[in-house]
């Protein structure tokens, strides 16, 4: 799994951090998403999928790893 985030779309709701705190964080200065791990291990995939699904701004994209 490859994760990417669109900082411009991000609305800082923080739902990704609540769903998958090992993969997503927010910048202290403006709440914009920080991607901690663009290729998370398999055991985090379910949480990352949830984070992408619940993102209110649809700012998280998942692709199959090549």
């Amino acid at each position: 799994m490859k994760v990417s985030v669109d900082e411009d779309k991000c609305c800082g709701a923080g739902s990704c951090v609540l769903a998958a705190p090992d993969v997503f964080d927010q910048r202290d200065e403006d709440g914009v998403v920080v991607l901690l791990n663009a290729e998370p291990p398999a055991e985090l995939h379910a949480a990352v999928r949830e984070a992408a699904d619940v993102c209110p701004a649809a700012a998280i994209t998942l692709r199959a790893a090549p």
Partner: protein, 404 residues
């Protein structure tokens, strides 16, 4: 189609059979008339959206604007000004500066920051439960816990005294009036609210602290173009209202739904790790979510295969969208393990609720504390006898009588 024909407009909001159940029309509207003409409390016409995909699309599409002060936009509320969505608070900020503004304020509401607040929120919930236990059963959980907890949290963040909470509640209710208050009552209350907050901002400017308003003042001095005084005042007022009104109501509705079928409460007692998904499911299941979110469009568009002409005001009913079977299997069943739960209770798109991590933290904290402290909690009235808050754009329960 039987309902929603142009010559057979429904009056909106639609009545519901009980405080926790949805209006019977929703399923029919989602199935057969997803863009339904309705008559608002003002008498103006709007198009009601009830399907998940349509609501999500409109809230994420910037062509559907918040400019409900446009001359041909529908007025919402029954009073002359049309209420909060047509008023100055909603339009104080040009769309272009919204993202900059949002990022200034968002730093106060990050998930990490909210997680750090959680022990303090739980401690306050414990103290409020102490007072409720001392009062004895039956007690009104809304007035003894659901209302004071979020007020305390947001007052602490804004640096305003919590002891003024009854005034805040009145000012909030007038601001959020749909049919309850007259224009004169609203104008008088809002003048008081503005004066109160302007005085608070002036006093904070003289003697800044560690709170959000102090920081926004400091920021506005370096970012005057983003936060002129008028926007600072609107921000402070908006956060105070939004910070307690919706969460207060949601605490009552969440606990009410969990106790209405006590097997739900028992499932949580058996496995408290379900608190997180249970909170999300309560947000999804909330059929009494209030007016919804209006948007106004200045060009022709299409929603769910229906043409929506320019000048239309649409109303996104989040609660109806959250019961859409196309997205949520067994949508009318409360499944405390549902995951992922992509409900729209906080809206969607760039304007989705700024305080949603705070709301989630408060709801999770209050539910954890109640499960630990009052495992024998039950409703002191039949669920169908719970009464709705009427005449406001937010939905809630007037009281939540409980015993334990």
């Amino acid at each position: 189609m039987a309902r929603g024909d142009a010559d057979q407009k429904l009056d909106y909001p639609l009545p519901a059979p009980t405080a926790l159940e949805p209006p019977v029309e929703w399923a029919d509207l989602r199935g057969r008339c997803p863009v339904a003409p309705v008559t608002l409390p003002s008498g103006d016409t709007a198009s009601l959206l009830t399907r998940y995909d349509d609501v999500r699309q409109v809230l994420s599409d910037p062509r559907f604007t918040r400019h409900l002060n446009a001359p041909d936009a529908a007025r919402i509320a029954a009073n002359e000004s049309g209420g909060v969505f047509n008023g100055a608070l909603a339009s104080a900020m040009p769309e272009e500066t919204h993202q900059q503004w949002r990022r200034l304020v968002s730093k106060w509401f990050t998930a990490k920051r909210m997680t750090r607040l959680r022990p303090g929120i739980e401690a306050m919930a414990d103290r409020l439960v102490d007072a409720m236990v001392e009062h004895g059963a039956p007690a009104d959980l809304r007035s003894m816990l659901g209302f004071p907890l979020p007020v305390w949290v947001i007052c602490d963040m804004l640096g305003v005294p919590e002891t003024d909470r009854d005034r805040f509640a009145y000012w909030s209710n007038t601001l959020l009036s749909l049919t309850r208050y007259t224009q004169d009552e609203i104008d008088a209350a809002q003048a008081e609210f503005r004066a109160y907050m302007a005085d608070h901002i002036a006093a904070t400017r003289q003697d800044p602290g560690e709170d959000l308003i102090s920081e926004l003042i400091a920021t506005s001095e370096s970012h005057g173009q983003v936060l002129p005084d008028e926007a600072l005042l609107a921000t402070a007022q908006g956060l105070l209202v939004a910070g307690h009104e919706t969460t207060s109501n949601m605490i009552g509705k969440m606990v009410g739904m969990l106790l209405a079928d006590r097997r739900r409460w028992e499932a949580l007692l058996d496995d408290p790790s379900l608190v997180r998904t249970a909170v999300e499911e309560a947000l999804r299941m909330d059929a009494n979510g209030g007016f919804g979110i209006p948007r106004y469009i200045t060009e022709d568009a299409e929603v769910g295969g229906t043409r929506v002409p320019r000048g239309t005001t649409v109303v996104c009913n989040l609660s109806a969208a959250n019961r859409d079977e196309r997205v949520f299997p067994d949508a009318d069943q409360m499944d405390l393990t549902r995951s992922p739960n992509t409900h729209l209770a906080f809206g969607a798109g760039s304007h989705s609720c700024l305080g949603q991590s705070l709301a989630r933290t408060e709801l999770q904290a209050v539910l954890s504390v109640l499960l630990r402290r009052l495992p024998s909690l039950e409703l002191a009235v039949a669920p169908e006898d719970l009464a709705r808050v009427d005449g406001l754009v937010v939905g809630g329960l007037q009281e939540l009588p409980v015993r334990w």
